[in-house]
């Protein structure tokens, strides 16, 4: 089988497996999986920017939060339905990424990192400052205002676990497919070239600034799609999701699963979720365990799990 066929089959297989899993998972893990899928979509978006384009961001919480608040506020105050809220959420993240990129991409390397951090912090403070609207870190719940998911033929209430799971899977699959398509396209090739050697890429005739802006917008839109979905499915919107913690998570998830691999973000998010889940049940010092696990991983698998697999056995992995 050709490499292209093998890659396609693998990715389709993963999505099919995730779809089938909902029929066998016990209730607790069913719920956890829905959360993981949404967060994994966030990680996929993060990976487009850091993993493939080589731009390290410590501010992706702002894009997740843009989606979360874009969707949450429009349901809470404007009575938007699920689709409108999702659309507005994605649009918020997309716009934020574009405007942010116009400013931040004038810098590179460490300066870019600092700017992402500062900007995200400003966004976080904004959610606190306007607490009459956002209810600050207390947050607000949208389950009373949010109607069911309307698919034309039928209505699906978000309280149903199966609705949560399949909506989460749909959003994840869309981002997953988008990232696969992207990295196997000529456009993705240019992004990788920018990661590997930006000055050289300019001397090949590419306006690298525009490509970086495009990568940032795609990454921001995917992160916002995850944020918006999170608000719709779990019904809670609060400023925690705009805090630095939610900028560090996607970095850790992608590092763990494999930077610059299409499957890594999903794997990393799932593993980390359960690592925290299990260890926090055992001890209150669970962050110590998580930290140690990460150190071990970075030492033994500096390229993450999928990165190591690709290097040793499966060079065709995208």
């Amino acid at each position: 089988m050709s490499v292209g066929g093998r890659v396609l089959l693998l990715h389709l297989g993963i999505v099919a497996l995730l779809f089938a899993a909902q029929f066998v998972l016990p209730a607790y893990h069913h719920g956890a999986a829905a959360r993981i899928l949404v967060l994994a979509a966030f990680a996929v978006g993060y990976n487009v920017l850091f993993g493939y384009t080589g731009l390290l961001s410590l501010g992706h919480a702002m894009f997740f939060a843009a989606g979360l608040y874009g969707a949450g506020l429009s349901v809470f105050y404007l009575g938007f339905g699920a689709w409108g809220a999702l659309g507005l959420g994605i649009l918020s993240g997309l716009l934020l990424a574009f405007l942010f990129g116009l400013v931040a991409l004038r810098t590179g390397g460490v300066a870019f990192l600092i700017v992402t951090l500062m900007f995200a912090q400003a966004c976080f403070l904004t959610t606190l400052y306007f607490n009459e609207i956002t209810f600050g870190d207390q947050g607000f719940v949208i389950s009373r205002q949010l109607g069911p998911l309307d698919l034309g033929l039928a209505q699906f209430p978000f309280a149903e676990p199966a609705v949560k799971y399949n909506m989460a899977l749909a959003v994840f699959a869309a981002c997953f497919a988008g990232s696969l398509l992207l990295v196997r396209s000529p456009l993705g090739r240019v992004l990788v070239a920018i990661r590997e050697n930006e000055p050289r890429t300019r001397m090949l005739g590419y306006d690298t600034w525009r490509y970086k802006l495009l990568a940032l917008v795609i990454s921001g839109a995917m992160s916002a799609a995850a944020g918006a979905t999170y608000a719709l499915l779990f019904s809670y919107v609060g400023s925690t999701f705009a805090s630095i913690q939610y900028s560090i998570y996607p970095l850790l998830w992608t590092l763990l699963g494999g930077l610059g691999t299409t499957i890594g973000p999903l794997l990393g998010t799932g593993l980390m979720y359960y690592l925290v889940d299990v260890s926090s049940g055992l001890t209150s010092a669970y962050l110590l365990i998580v930290g140690l696990a990460l150190v071990v991983l970075v030492v033994w698998f500096p390229k993450g799990i999928m990165g190591a697999l690709r290097e040793r056995w499966l060079p065709w992995l995208p």
Partner: protein
């Protein structure tokens, strides 16, 4: 055929701090010629072509390409006009395969804004990459990581990337450095092919290997300490007292 001026610089200068690397250079190229650019180490050759390709900014002076002022254009815009530079210090993507390296150059030249379009077009890219590999004899190395190639092959890959950009002006900065005897002969044939015919490219060749320069270049420009000190045919250059002094030192 009337000689058409392809490139002309006027009073081009470049300082690095207190050091004047290029001084008042008036330099022009005729369309279709192969020009040699020589000079001792540190003469300012790489700096001069850096300004022509847009990799470096000029401190003062102007550059015109086909009669158009390009002094302020960005490097990627000059590539779009057909000015292509191959690096003195090999600059390929060592972690990518030879295929990917060449595909990056090839897809830049495919019509229809292919780089923006998702998917598709890979067939056309693959075909041109294969042709580009064949041109420098690297067919066998298609799927190898570029960083794993022997040094001489890396140089050839770099030249192939330059060619794949379909240059009108190809600037080769010491391309034969590190090539074996046989590879050099092969390389000279390639350069002659590039410049041949009505659609042939203009080649500016920086080279320390005098045999290669004498073999390929119709005219030679000599630089020393940032300035152009002589220009002419091989015979004229060899008889020039100033050139001899520059090379022997005073």
């Amino acid at each position: 055929m009337a000689a058409v001026e392809l490139l002309a610089t006027t009073a081009l200068n470049r300082h690095f701090g207190g050091l004047q690397a290029v001084r008042d250079v008036q330099f022009s190229l005729r369309q279709g010629e192969i020009r040699g650019l020589i000079g001792p180490n540190g003469a300012g050759k790489t700096t001069l072509v850096g300004m022509i390709s847009g990799r470096l900014r000029a401190s003062s002076g102007g550059i015109a390409f086909k009669g158009r002022d390009i002094t302020r254009l960005k490097s990627w815009q000059r590539v779009a006009l057909g000015i292509v530079y191959t690096f003195q210090v090999t600059s390929i993507y060592p972690n990518l395969s030879c295929y990917e390296n060449l595909a990056l150059a090839v897809q830049r030249r495919l019509p229809g804004g292919l780089a923006i379009r998702f998917g598709g077009g890979e067939g056309a890219i693959a075909g041109r990459v294969a042709a580009a590999l064949a041109r420098v004899g690297l067919e066998e190395d298609r799927d190898r990581l570029a960083g794993e190639l022997p040094y001489g092959h890396q140089r050839l890959l770099e030249v192939a990337m330059g060619l794949a950009l379909e240059p009108e002006l190809l600037i080769l900065d010491e391309p034969t450095q590190g090539l074996a005897e046989g590879e050099i002969a092969q390389f000279c044939t390639l350069v002659r092919e590039i410049a041949e015919g009505a659609t042939g490219a203009t080649v500016l060749l920086i080279e320390h290997n005098m045999e290669v320069v004498l073999d390929l270049a119709e005219r030679i420009t000599v630089m020393d300490r940032g300035a152009v000190i002589a220009e002419g045919t091989a015979a004229e250059i060899q008889g020039d007292a100033q050139v001899q002094r520059a090379y022997l030192g005073t």
